[in-house]
């Protein structure tokens, strides 16, 4: 696909084609380096530059607020974006093209883990420095990461396996409460659970255990849906999962020991940016591994034709069970992180509204695609943050956008595309030289 696009770009005339040609052949590594340079620039030169061009502050979400709220400052914001982001990234990526290609090539000679870690390290570096400018960015990023995990895990059921599951907020709630009870009970003094049972210093180390605990509880809950899914599919299963969501919510409201409708607060502050990032990467990595293995592709076989799958030795029950429990596990982990980011949970959060949000992200981004889920989660999270200045009209614009996407790309922006880590990191051949 990628090659085809490039080849296509070669032929197209005009500014767009020229632009494409100009930037073709830059590996992901090159772009990452560019981004890193840009964020470092922003970090050190952002404030002086802002003073010089008369902005109040560094535009926090690429100037969205300024564009929508203070049209007079748009030129300033544009200058800032150009000087800090567009030009440095473009220049570094383009000028370093040969170098980064060579570097990427050299890295690929190591076992796959090495280039993967290098790329992730660079990505994290860029994100970290970018977010260092403002706590608001940190929070937005954390919640975006949570959204990625949620969307991706729901895509396992709704996209890869083709069921319409409505229970995801329920799984998330189970995970959030599971992990919260774990950490609050063990490490924090609280109105409901009293003094911590373990020394607080252990907390950050056992936090992963807490998240896994939450994930496992969510997995257990998923059995309630997985078992009926052996006998029924489609709409009826959608209703079962919806009923499950109502049940979970009502159950938590009735559980006094976790605070009932008042919610549970006092989660220790363990969910810092690196932790959230690492868990998100883990989630993407494991889910991607799974859906690319033959065992995982059995989900697609079950979706496209269950009878045929069965006849081709695919254990469909096991497949469904694994899919539901696996997706629920990650929803649970995401819930646990969510609870520790906000440091408060209440059952009201995990209702229909959350469901609509996650569903929208999955279908907007694209079914059956890791790329799609990441795109959907990131773009909708950032969009709903960036459009904040529109106030209530935001809730006209975002739905409208989604409707348009559904009409013109019914399976979402990037659907049915495999996420091949190796391909992503590979050096790109330089076509400019060939032409």
């Amino acid at each position: 696909m990628v090659e085809m696009n490039d080849a296509h770009a070669m032929k197209t005339k005009g500014a767009r084609g020229r632009l494409r040609r100009f930037f073709s052949g830059i590996p992901v590594l090159g772009w990452l380096l560019g981004a890193l340079v840009a964020v470092v620039l922003e970090h050190y030169l952002g404030d002086p530059l802002v003073d010089r061009i008369g902005l109040d502050k560094i535009p926090v979400l690429f100037g969205a607020v300024i564009i929508l709220k203070k049209p007079l400052m748009i030129p300033g914001a544009a200058v800032f974006l150009l000087l800090i982001y567009v030009i440095p990234i473009a220049v570094v990526a383009r000028a370093g093209k040969t170098l980064s290609n060579r570097l990427a090539g050299a890295l690929m000679r190591f076992p796959i883990a090495v280039p993967a870690l290098v790329h992730l390290g660079l990505l994290y570096g860029a994100i970290h420095i970018w977010s260092d400018v403002s706590a608001y960015r940190v929070l937005t990023l954390k919640l975006t990461f949570v959204a990625i995990m949620l969307t991706l895990s729901l895509n396992v059921i709704n996209g890869y396996m083709g069921e319409f599951s409505c229970s995801h907020p329920g799984f998330m709630a189970l995970g959030a409460y599971g992990a919260s009870v774990f950490t609050v009970l063990l490490f924090s003094s609280d109105r409901l659970f009293g003094d911590p049972l373990l020394p607080e210093a252990l907390g950050p180390f056992l936090f992963p255990a807490g998240l896994i605990f939450g994930g496992l509880i969510a997995s257990l809950g998923a059995l309630v849906i997985a078992i009926p899914s052996f006998r029924t599919r489609g709409d009826y299963l959608a209703i079962i999962s919806l009923a499950f969501l109502f049940i979970v919510k009502s159950m938590i409201e009735n559980l006094e020991f976790v605070g009932g409708p008042r919610g549970l607060s006092g989660q220790p502050n363990y969910a810092n940016l690196p932790t959230v990032f690492i868990w998100t990467v883990l989630c993407v990595w494991i889910i991607n591994n799974f859906v690319r293995s033959t065992l995982g592709k059995a989900l697609n076989a079950v979706r496209d034709d269950e009878v045929a799958a069965d006849a081709m030795t695919v254990n469909t029950r096991r497949t469904k069970m694994v899919a539901f429990m696996f997706a629920a596990f990650w929803a649970g982990v995401a819930g646990g992180i969510y609870a520790h980011v906000l440091r408060y949970v209440n059952p009201g959060t995990f209702g229909i509204q959350k469901l609509a949000e996650v569903l929208a992200m999955v279908y907007f981004g694209g079914l059956n695609s890791v790329y799609g889920s990441i795109t959907g989660a990131v773009s909708l999270s950032l969009l709903s943050e960036a459009l904040r200045p529109l106030e209530i009209f935001k809730w006209i614009i975002i739905p409208l956008l989604l409707i348009l996407v559904m009409i013109y790309r019914p399976t979402g922006l990037i659907a049915f595309r495999e996420f091949d880590v190796r391909k992503v990191m590979q050096p790109k051949s330089n076509r400019d030289d060939e032409v």
Binding site: N158, G162, E163, F164, V224, I227, P228, R231, T232, R233, G234, D235, Y236, A238, I239, I240, L242, A243, F244, F246, I247, K249, S250, M251, E253, N254, R303, I352, A356, L359, A360, Y363, F364, L367, I392, F393, W395, I396, I398, P399, L400, L402, I403, M406, I407, P410, T411, G412
Partner: protein, 307 residues
């Protein structure tokens, strides 16, 4: 015993709302194979249109220009609102569903959700955050029948909704449009091959579903006279449950399941501590579906039921 009958009366009224909304859901769902997640919000719009029409008529009547009795206003309100709301339904169909008829059904579900959000937000923008109070069109009279309290409104609501359900049933069974709808529910691709305009039928389906939602909205306004822009969400989703619980393509099924939902909610609260109502009520529904995996009148899942 009195207590039981009291709750029975209550459940009948409550169930008729679920049934009415589930019917509209079921129409679109079975005929076009789409989840119309905007239906709950069309119910909301219907209630607001009803509110607008009723208020206008009451004012008109009070001004002496056109003195109408309460029941007359009610009848006019229902008819006018059905008419107006059916247009809303048709617009929703045209904008949100027709372009997606051949898309995966889940995409249409998302569109529906989004249209719903737009309707809610639109209401909020237009009318502000105030909740409005539905005018009491008829004087409420309470009858005490051996300790069971029944109001004239309750009787009227149950009767009107049963009447509309019967009318719908007859329409679908006896008229050629109804026949075309049933045919479309079975296999819509070949419907145009018989000279039946598919878009007309789809529009009609949405129009009827929305008109029913408007009736439900007005009756709801009479029984529970507080309207707010988000009133349709929970109702919509629960009616969605009822529509599918009834079984695909079954008007009887949707009606029964709607009443069943109402009965479950009321009677669970009657027997068990009411804090556990949702927990128990939805566990019951979940169990029903586990043991009757295709709803009451539905067929086993076929390839067409896929998303």
């Amino acid at each position: 015993m009195v207590f039981f009958f009291q709750n029975l009366v209550n459940a009948l009224q409550w169930g008729s709302f679920y049934a009415m909304i589930a019917l509209g859901y079921s129409m679109v769902y079975s005929i076009l194979m789409l989840f119309n997640f905007a239906h709950g919000d069309i119910f909301m719009v219907g209630a607001y249109i009803g509110f607008g029409v009723a208020t206008a008529l009451v004012t008109l009547s009070a001004s002496g220009f056109l003195a109408l009795p309460g029941w007359m206003i009610l009848v006019l309100t229902i008819l006018l609102s059905m008419f107006l709301t059916s247009f809303v339904g048709m617009i929703v169909e045209r904008v949100g569903y027709r372009p997606l008829r051949d898309a995966p059904r889940a995409s249409a579900a998302i569109t529906g959700l989004m249209i719903g959000i737009m309707l809610e937000t639109g209401n909020l923008i237009l009318l502000g955050a105030r909740r409005v109070s539905f005018p009491p069109l008829i004087e409420s009279v309470t009858y005490n029948v051996g300790g069971v309290f029944v109001t004239n409104k309750k009787i009227m609501i149950v009767l009107i909704s049963l009447g509309f359900m019967l009318a719908l049933h007859l329409f679908v069974q006896k008229t050629r449009y109804g026949m075309a709808m049933r045919a479309m529910a079975f296999d819509y691709v070949v419907v145009p091959l018989l000279g039946i305009p598919i878009n007309t039928i789809a529009r009609l389906t949405f129009a009827i579903g929305s008109a029913l939602a408007a009736v439900a909205g007005i009756l709801f306004g009479l029984a529970y006279p507080v309207l707010d822009p988000y009133m349709g969400i929970v109702f919509g989703w629960k009616a969605f449950v009822a529509a599918i619980l009834g079984g695909r393509g079954s008007i009887m099924g949707a009606t029964l399941a709607g009443f069943l939902m109402g009965f479950i909610e009321i009677f669970v609260a009657m027997v068990f501590p009411s804090t556990l109502r949702d927990l128990i009520a939805y566990s019951i529904i979940l169990l029903i579906l586990v043991f009757r995996p295709h709803g009451f009148f539905g067929e086993p899942y076929s390839a067409r039921l896929r998303l």
